[in-house]
Structure formats: C-alpha cells, structure tokens
C-alpha cells in the first residue's frame, strides 16, 4: 500500500522580510527515506521545524499522517519522533534515563518502556553504554542515543535534522546503516536534512534539492544523476580567460559533447558515453592549440546535480 504520510502544500516561512522557505511542495510515502539536500542556510531546518510543529508557517500548509501541523499539532506530535540538530538530551542523566524520561512523557506503560528501550538500544547498537551518564560518552554515541530516542514512541515518521554532523567517517557509516535497518524493522518513514552529498546519496530513496528557500529538484538520487547526463568530464585550460572562452566555442563543434559549461576556472562537459573520450579531447585540444592542464572523467554525483541546477557547488553556496 502506498499512502502519503507527509503532504506539503506551498509551505512558506518568512522572518520579517527574509524568506526562509518559499512555497515548497512535496509528498512522502510510507516507509520512505526522504532527504532534504542543500547548503547550510538553504531553509532545510526551517522546513523541518514547521513539519514538527516548532514553528508556525507564514502561509501554506502541511499534514503528517493526515493531521495539520498547525491545527492538530498535538496529534502530529503523537505521530512523530524528532532528532534535533543541536544537542537536546540531559547530560546529567544516563542514556537509559533519557530514553525512559522521554517514554514517560508520552505516557508509555512500564512494560512498553522497558521493551522499547531494549529494542532501540539494539537498533542503534548501544547495548552496554546505556547506564553511563551522557557527558562521559563521546559525541557520536551521545548522538546515537538521541537518534534512538527518535524511535522510542513508535512514531510513523522520524525527523532527523543533520543526523551525522560532526561525525567521523566510520561513525557516519554506522549510523547510516542503523537508520536503514531501523526503517526496515520498524517500517517507519524517515525524513532528514543534510548537507552531505554522500549522506543523501547513500541513505535516501528520494532527495529534494533545496537552495535559497526553494526546492529546485526532487527525485531518486539515480534519476537526478541521470538528469545531469551520462559521463562528465571536467578540465582546465592553460592561460585561463580568453583561451577558455575560445575552447568553449570550439568544443561545442564536437557532436558527442551534449553540453559545455564554465564554472569558475574549469570547464564541465557532458559527453555521450563511449570509449576514449579523454584521449580524444586531449588530441582535439592539441590540434587547435590549447593546453589542457588537468582532466578528469567521472559518473555524475549529487554534487554535479546541485551544480547543474544552481550553477554553484554546495561548498560555494555555503561560503556565501
């Protein structure tokens, strides 16, 4: 059965004159892992705060499990689990006490609490660490307790705001797999924000790319990458500026180049797939008196997707 667990219609949030989220629309199906990918400050967190009833939308609406996030905020809260971007547990309590406290807030019975705590400890691989005060645990483990808490109350949707920020690569990989497993076992819908390309790519069934308060593309990572084209070749030309412009003109004459764009000081080409494209390009440059200083061929990534739709890399977008 496919049913929409999250429905968002023209959702907008303004802070004074600043538009943080601008008329976004999307729907998330039950059991999906749905990601918002975008640079810091793109509006991802604001969007998630509206969906979790922490902020009121300026206009537009959203439903979680059929409940309106403004009018039925109490019901919405009963159906969701939230993992905040900032730390939100009590450092002076142990992991187990934090989980237990959370469950009591949702009026779970003692048996329910105990069995569910065992379950989420298992899910997030936290067994053996549950009786240590959080301030004595490394950041990654503490964070995992917060993720575990998100799954405590049998929510229909779990929201994760930048779940792996500040993690090392191993911890990040572990958490990704744990979240995937949790989805399989609990059948829960997961909605997350991230500015890590790999996170969106590895974890999400569908990704909404968000930039400057708007959703600019939304599809499966695979389809998004296909939209960019087949093979990508990026290269740099010696002597910059005019030479580069001249090369751009020439290279478009090649019939297997479908698209050529200039980004800062490099050129990005979409090539129809085929053998020996890099070698051909080097020959081509030689013939016309250009010197290629670096060249690289790769399959499109979500980074290229972001670049394709915005003309900037995520890193550039965050730099300002």
């Amino acid at each position: 059965m496919t049913e929409d667990v999250i429905g968002v219609h023209d959702l907008t949030k303004k802070f004074g004159d600043f538009v943080a989220v601008d008329h976004i629309n999307f729907a998330v199906k039950r059991g999906e892992i749905f990601g918002f990918l975008g640079p810091n400050g793109a509006g991802k967190s604001t969007a998630i705060k509206m969906l979790t009833t922490l902020l009121h939308p300026t206009s537009g609406s959203a439903e979680i499990c059929g409940y309106d996030v403004v009018k039925d905020s109490e019901e919405v809260r009963r159906h969701i689990g939230i993992v905040f971007q900032d730390r939100s547990s009590d450092d002076y309590l142990t992991g187990r006490q934090n989980l237990d406290f959370h469950a009591r807030m949702y009026e779970m019975s003692r048996e329910e609490r105990e069995s569910k705590i065992e379950e989420v400890l298992d899910l997030l691989e936290l067994k053996g660490k549950e009786n240590i005060k959080l301030h004595n645990l490394p950041e990654g483990v503490r964070r995992r307790f917060e993720v575990a808490r998100g799954f405590m109350t049998r929510p229909d949707v779990v929201f994760l705001d930048e779940p792996t920020i500040g993690f090392d690569i191993k911890a990040r990989m572990d958490l990704w797999n744990q979240i995937k497993r949790a989805r399989e076992i609990e059948g829960v819908t997961v909605s997350l924000t991230t500015h890590f390309i790999e996170e969106a790519n590895y974890l999400c069934d569908r990704v909404a790319i968000i930039d400057k308060a708007k959703i600019i593309a939304l599809d499966t990572p695979q389809k998004l990458k296909e939209a960019v084209g087949s093979d990508l070749i990026s290269l740099q030309i010696a002597d910059g500026g005019e030479k580069r412009a001249a090369f751009m003109e020439k290279v478009n004459e090649l019939d297997w180049i479908t698209r050529a764009e200039e980004y800062s000081n490099s050129i990005l080409l979409n090539a129809e797939s085929g053998e020996g494209r890099v070698a051909d390009l080097i020959d081509f440059a030689d013939t016309h008196g250009f010197v290629i200083t670096s060249i690289d061929e790769h399959e499109p990534s979500l980074e290229d997707v972001f670049l394709y739709f915005t003309g900037r890399t995520i890193r550039e977008a965050e730099g300002g």
């Binding site: 979790t52 905040f84 002076y92």
Partner: protein, 274 residues
C-alpha cells in the same frame, strides 16, 4: 463560525508531572557539589553569620530583637526563608539552562501540557528546597541547644511547612516570570542577584525590621517587599513571635504566589523554544 476542535486530554497528567519531578531529583543527586552545598550552606550561614551576630546582639542590642527572642532563634527562620527565595527563583534559571542546552525543545514537542511540565519541575525544586530547609532546621536545633533555638509546637512546625510551600511556589512563579522574560543565562543571573539580594537584606531575615525605623524610604521599602511577610510568617510559626499580623503575612504571600504563578505560567506557555 469557526468550530474549535476539542482536544481530549486529562487535566492532570500524572506521568509527565512525575517524570519531570523525578528528573529534577535524579539531577540533584547526580551532582555531588549540589548535595554538598545543601548541607554546607546552612552550616556556613548559621555558624559564620548567626553566631557572630548573636554576639553583637547579646552584648547590648538585645532590646532590638522582637519578643525577647535569643538572636539565634531570630535568625534561623530568616536563613530558612532565604533558602526558599534563592531556591524558588533559581528554578527560573533552570528553565533557561534547559533552553540553552536544548533539553527544553525535547520536552516541548512532547504531547504534554506546558503547565504539567511546569508543575512537575516546580515540585522537584520544592522537594529539594524542603530537604534544604529541614536540614537547616535540623542543624539549627542542634546548635540551638546552646544558642537558644527551639520549635514551640508541632502544630506550628507543620503550619510553617505549609506556609513555606506556598512561599516557595510564589518565588518559583517569580523566577519563571523573570526567566521567561530574559533571554540569556548571564543576563539572568545578574538581574536575579540585583533583585534577590535587596529583597533578602530588606526583609527582616537577618536583622529586625525595626532596626532602621529612623531611616525613611529604606524602612518603608521593607513593607512593599513580599519576603518581609514570608519571613515574619515562618518566624512566627516556628518561635511564636510575630511582628506583623499573621493574617496579613498569609494574605500577602498567597496573593504574591497567585499573581506570579499566573504570570509565570502565562510566560512559560508563550515562550518560543527555537
């Protein structure tokens, strides 16, 4: 016409209130420094301020102590009241701490009334404050065998506990109101100190209010200070010596409690968590 949706929620959410209370206590007992302070602080006040002041009053100023009380018996209820004032308003700080450390966010998105959160938290703080008050009285009774402090009756003692609970809630409301109004922890501590200390000094807790009878404004200020009535009530119930009419003490404290609990609940319910 707009139809208001009726949300069926129990008026009294026992489990969330209990868990907020439990959390306060777990936190308290988890911090050794706080436990230590609970026992050390009354001892410091009683020994290092109570005894020296007793000496001053014993050597010539004893006519200033109302009802012919030994000065030590006079100051014990004052120190107990101070604990209630500081402990109560401090609960406003802890709301803010939670706000800064993000914990409040996790609580605020739970499907629980904010008033339940407030009640649970206040009951936790009250429990801790009562532990401290009883410790103070216990220590004072031991020292009192030499210095002349004793409780006049069991009924008075029990009434005093009841009165202290009302007083404590009054200051919780006061702290919450200020806590919700002031944005950052640093500012809060500074402002709270600037309010708490004058309240404490001009309440008759340390020195009889009649000592400054000849000084205009300063003398009158004592009568607009709600703590003056609280201190007088606690002292009267413990020692039998009231300076003000008991009914006035009760009326002022109850009114003060109702006003600030209402304001505090209102401010807390409107507070943005973001």
């Amino acid at each position: 016409m707009e139809v208001q949706e009726v949300i069926h929620k129990p008026l009294f959410e026992a489990e969330p209130i209990y868990s907020m209370w439990l959390r306060e206590l777990i936190r308290f007992f988890a911090m050794r420094s706080r436990i230590l302070a609970t026992f050390a602080s009354p001892l410091i006040w009683l020994l290092f301020l109570g005894i020296p002041l007793s000496e001053i009053f014993a050597s010539g100023a004893s006519q200033n102590v109302p009802g012919g009380l030994p000065f030590f018996a006079f100051i014990v209820p004052g120190i107990v009241s101070m604990g209630l004032l500081f402990g109560g308003t401090n609960s406003g700080v802890t709301v803010l701490w939670d706000k800064e450390f993000g914990f409040l966010k996790e609580v605020m998105v739970a499907p629980v009334r904010r008033t339940s959160l407030m009640i649970g938290r206040s009951l936790g703080a009250l429990t801790i404050a009562l532990i401290q008050a009883l410790t103070t009285i216990g220590i004072a009774l031991i020292l009192g065998t030499w210095l002349g402090f004793r409780i006049i009756s069991v009924a008075g003692f029990l009434l005093a506990i009841g009165f202290m609970i009302i007083m404590f809630f009054a200051f919780v409301g006061f702290g919450l109101t200020l806590g919700a109004m002031i944005e950052n922890t640093e500012g809060f501590t500074t402002i709270i100190r600037m309010i708490e200390f004058p309240m404490f000094f001009l309440s008759g807790a340390l020195l009889p209010i009649t000592v400054i009878k000849g000084i205009p404004i300063l003398y009158q200020l004592q009568f607009i200070n709600p703590l003056t009535y609280g201190v007088d009530g606690v002292r009267g119930l413990f020692t039998g010596v009231f300076i003000l009419p008991p009914w006035l003490d009760l009326t002022v404290i109850v009114a003060f409690a109702l006003l600030f609990l209402f304001l505090g609940a209102y401010a807390f319910s409107r507070m943005e968590v973001d």
